[in-house]
């Protein structure tokens, strides 16, 4: 199959994948027992008002009609109105999405900065004390749930030693114009470095939590991948030709060892988007994860469906992109 047909096929496959996901989510939410109107609006409200609200929200229509309406709106890019916030789901997601992105990107970058060099050192000093200690420490970190790590950081760095704020976002008194929604970038663009510094203080712990959870994986994968490459014939040849060791590692080995790490990055990004719920809750960061959790608690159907749809688009889209990149970059892959 030619590459362009393969790419076209992969893109087309996004549609049925999304359709299946959206259908599953829609019906799961609607067949679950429990009245979302009652949950949202409370028990004291007279039944007549509850019925009126249910009618106004369209929840008294047959489920297949609600499903068709839902799909029609989705095609138009309308994810519905949040029962809880009373604004468009898309607008609400746009509002909070940068927070999650900020935590995710910052955390991944930090985990790369920490993990990959560590993995390289471990590979180059295989069996040495650094390698041994890293292995044990990585296993320990990997075994710990992210919310536990978050709490420990919060207690020690925030409360006991008073080095960082325990939770929250940068003080809104800095009044930084919203461009991207990520305060870090917006404050740089506004040249407000005081706000940038202040915001970084609030983000260090969430980033560190993400980094400590993901770093072991990067370290181990980097180590394994590099060790694999270092055993290849072309590396031996390069050494035999008298190429400096630094050049052998950086120019020849790392370039080939990096591919599995790129795949893992895409997967990490996707995992973190959904996995930041606890981090957002503990550090009071108003992001997508927290929005989804609040939506689940309150049976905010539209919000849940909207966020799941967005996650589905991102996951499917990213996976497709990665597969296409692989197909282009690696001629050994058959398609």
């Amino acid at each position: 199959m030619k590459l362009k047909y393969y790419v076209g096929f992969r893109i087309l496959m996004i549609i049925p994948t999304l359709l299946i996901i959206l259908t599953l989510v829609f019906f799961i939410m609607h067949v679950l027992p429990g009245d979302p109107v009652r949950i949202m609006w409370g028990e004291e409200i007279p039944d007549t008002i509850i019925e009126e609200i249910r009618h106004n929200l369209g929840l008294d229509r047959p489920i297949h009609i609600q499903y068709i309406e839902y799909l029609k709106k989705f095609i138009r890019g309308d994810f519905g109105t949040s029962y809880r916030y009373k604004v468009s789901v898309l607008d609400k997601v746009k509002e909070v999405w940068p927070t999650t992105l900020e935590i995710t990107i910052g955390g991944i970058l930090l985990s790369i900065i920490m993990g990959i060099p560590l993995g390289i050192i471990c590979a180059l000093r295989k069996g040495g004390i650094i390698d041994q200690v890293t292995r044990i420490f990585s296993l320990y970190l990997y075994s710990n749930p992210s919310f536990w790590l978050a709490l420990i950081l919060q207690i020690y760095l925030g409360l006991t030693w008073g080095l960082l704020p325990t939770s929250g976002r940068c003080s809104l008194s800095y009044d930084i114009p919203r461009v991207t929604g990520m305060i870090t970038i917006d404050s740089i663009m506004a040249l407000n470095f005081r706000a940038l510094f202040e915001n970084l203080r609030y983000l260090i712990m969430p980033w560190l939590t993400v980094a400590l959870v993901r770093m072991p994986r990067y370290a181990r994968i980097s180590r394994a991948s590099l060790l694999n490459v270092l055993g290849e014939d072309y590396i031996i040849t390069a050494r035999a030709k008298g190429v400096r060791e630094r050049t052998v590692i950086i120019k020849h080995a790392l370039r080939n060892a990096i591919l599995p790490i790129i795949t893992m990055l895409a997967g990490s990004f996707v995992w973190l988007l959904g996995g930041t719920v606890f981090i957002e809750m503990i550090f009071s960061q108003p992001g997508m994860g927290r929005l989804l959790l609040e939506g689940l608690r309150g049976r905010d159907f539209n919000m849940i469906q909207g966020i799941v749809a967005i996650y589905a688009i991102i996951v499917v889209g990213l996976n497709t992109v990665v597969e296409v990149i692989y197909a282009v970059a690696d001629p050994r892959i058959k398609y």
Partner: protein, 589 residues
């Protein structure tokens, strides 16, 4: 040779760098010493700014700047700080309603036999938008709360429908500063209900009709609602939905009514800002308090955290006893749920349950055993359950077993306790499960997702379940009507309890209420109801929850409002004290 030369260059470069760094440090220190006074003044200024801003921490909840939604404390607090009410319940005495926007009120009956309350509004006041505070504004506010469903539905507020519809049947304005509140048919002279609901527990504040029509309609964006104004000591300066609200004192506010600090809002002189910050969970809220990131936390702080704070010398704590929920344990009286419809069986359960353990392990001591469904400070409180709870534990267990045998279950019985998906309910159920097991009643705890739980329990399907009631008004009717009257879908119908005699007693009790002083018959009625409740073991009262609050010791003159569910509204008097060691420390925030 080349190697030696390189080393020399490196050494020289290192020396230059070290000298440069050292010199820079020295010069910096010199400049600091010269600017010492200036720096000290800057630092003091930072402390002054800090001392004039109070940070209140609360748990994240639904938020809307103009309408109180659900149970969100941030909404309620904002409402109290931005808005006024006709009367304010006293901070310490739930029976006292202090004049505020209403300078006087009087209970009357007209020639048609309709009971009403006549309020005289303080004259000459204006809202921040310049319009008059008058009877029409009050009427507008209350009717809007009750009838403007579209706005409320859109913005999620419905609690006030309940408050207003049970508080009045119609409102009249005979002149600019007089409002007549005609009481509902089923509460013709029963003032506690409408008074408490509208003036104490309901959270609506009187708003300017003009600002509401302009900024607070269904078609307005959420940001517009911030421009809706009421008559309160604060104005809303800014807000972010999931994060915080910033309020600033309103310079033209006039303190109304008596001004002892516990009677109602006062003009703010010691503060420039109040910032209400949302935290996603109770532990973060507690840490923020201890770290000094917030000055005051409301009652959403977890009880286990509050217990730890008691030992912290830098934190001030206070409690309002029994003002929270009264939790009861119910059994379904319907025939299909036999043997719960057997008195001996229910009595056996009653003897077997030790609420002291629940108070100790679930409330962490922040509550007390409930010996009646009526609260200790409510009129006609009769501690009917004290009789069995004062018995030695072993004796109670023996009596329980005997009663179970008498009911026909000498070898025990198996049943279920239904709970919603909530950690508190699970804890209570676990303890009660262990207690019942001692007399041979084997229970399975069945947990439901909240929405499902509501539906199932409302439909009367639950065999055993917990159900509490928060304080609505300071009268035994508040607890007993919703618990026992056959019309109540809150508790009576859920447990299948239907007793016409009890209904008649409750109705008579309400009729007999006299704002000038109850007749003796009323006391007899409510004591009889409590006795029947015990004799028939209709439900088992377990515990009263306290409301509690904590704040940092540098906050002074702060009043915890112990008579409502929004405890931290007394911030208008508060001020913060700059610590003695300000020269060597930085403000916590």
């Amino acid at each position: 040779m080349m190697s030696n030369k390189r080393n020399v260059y490196i050494i020289v470069a290192a020396v230059i760098i070290i000298i440069g760094l050292g010199g820079n440090w020295y010069l910096t220190e010199q400049r600091k010493a010269e600017r010492a006074e200036e720096l000290l003044a800057e630092k003091y200024e930072q402390w002054v700014v800090w001392s004039r801003t109070i940070y209140i921490g609360t748990i994240a909840s639904d938020y809307h700047p103009g309408i109180a939604i659900g149970r969100g404390n941030r909404n309620y607090l904002e409402g109290y700080l931005r808005g006024g009410k006709l009367l304010w319940v006293d901070a310490n005495d739930i029976n006292i309603f202090n004049p505020s926007l209403a300078e006087s009120w009087e209970f009357k009956v007209n020639s048609d036999g309709e009971a009403y309350v006549e309020y005289k509004i303080v004259q000459g006041l204006k809202f921040p938008d310049g319009t008059d505070v008058d009877a029409e504004a009050v009427k507008y506010t209350w009717e809007r709360e009750r009838y403007e469903l579209a706005t409320r539905e859109k913005h999620g507020e419905t609690y006030h429908v309940y408050s207003m519809s049970t508080g009045w049947k119609r409102l009249e304005v005979p002149d600019k500063y007089t409002l007549l509140q005609f009481l509902p048919e089923d509460n013709q002279n029963f003032l506690p209900h409408p008074f408490s609901f509208i003036h104490a527990l309901a959270h609506s504040h009187i708003v300017s009709p003009e600002s509401s029509e302009t900024y607070a309609k269904e078609t307005n964006a959420i940001s517009d609602f911030a421009n809706q104004v009421g008559y309160g000591p604060f104005l809303l300066e800014s807000f972010v939905v999931d994060q915080q609200s910033v309020l600033v004192p309103w310079d033209d506010y006039v303190t109304l009514g008596p001004t002892s600090g516990t009677t109602g809002p006062t003009k703010v002189t010691e503060l420039d800002k109040v910032v209400i910050i949302e935290y996603a969970d109770a532990t973060s809220l507690r840490m923020a308090l201890e770290r000094g990131e917030v000055d005051i936390v409301d009652d959403t702080i977890a009880d286990v955290d509050y217990q730890d704070l008691l030992a912290n010398p830098d934190i001030v704590t206070d409690r309002a006893p029994a003002i929270g929920y009264c939790m009861l344990f119910h059994m379904n009286h319907r025939p299909e749920f036999a043997p719960f419809n057997d008195l001996d069986f229910r009595k056996a359960v009653s003897y077997a349950i030790f609420p002291e353990e629940l108070v100790e392990k679930c409330l962490f001591g922040l509550g007390s055993v409930a010996d009646s469904a009526v609260r200790t400070f409510q009129p006609y409180y009769l501690p009917v359950w004290e009789e069995i709870r004062s018995l030695p534990d072993d004796e109670r267990i023996d009596i329980a077993k005997d009663l179970l045998a008498k009911a026909g279950y000498p070898d025990g019985y198996s049943t279920e306790i239904w709970i919603p998906d909530n950690i508190d309910y699970r804890n209570w159920a676990t303890i009660v499960q262990a207690q019942l097991l001692k007399i041979g009643i084997r229970t399975t705890i069945k947990s439901f997702e909240s929405g499902v739980y509501y539906d199932e329990v409302r439909a009367g399907h639950a065999p055993m379940f917990f159900r509490g009631w928060t304080l609505d008004y300071n009268d035994p009717d508040s607890e007993l009507w919703y618990l026992l009257h056959s019309s109540s879908d809150k508790q009576a119908q859920r447990m299948g309890y239907n007793n016409s005699y009890i209904d008649s007693l409750l109705e008579r009790g309400k009729e007999l209420y006299d704002p000038t002083g109850d007749p003796a018959e009323r006391q007899e009625i409510y004591e009889e109801i409590q006795q029947i409740m015990f004799d028939d073991t209709i439900s088992i009262p377990l515990m009263y929850q306290d409301m509690y609050q904590a704040w940092n010791s540098w906050v002074e003159d702060y009043v915890m409002w112990k008579t409502t569910h929004t405890t931290c509204m007394g911030v208008w008097n508060a001020r913060k004290v700059i610590p003695d060691n300000w020269e060597t420390t930085d403000p916590p925030r």
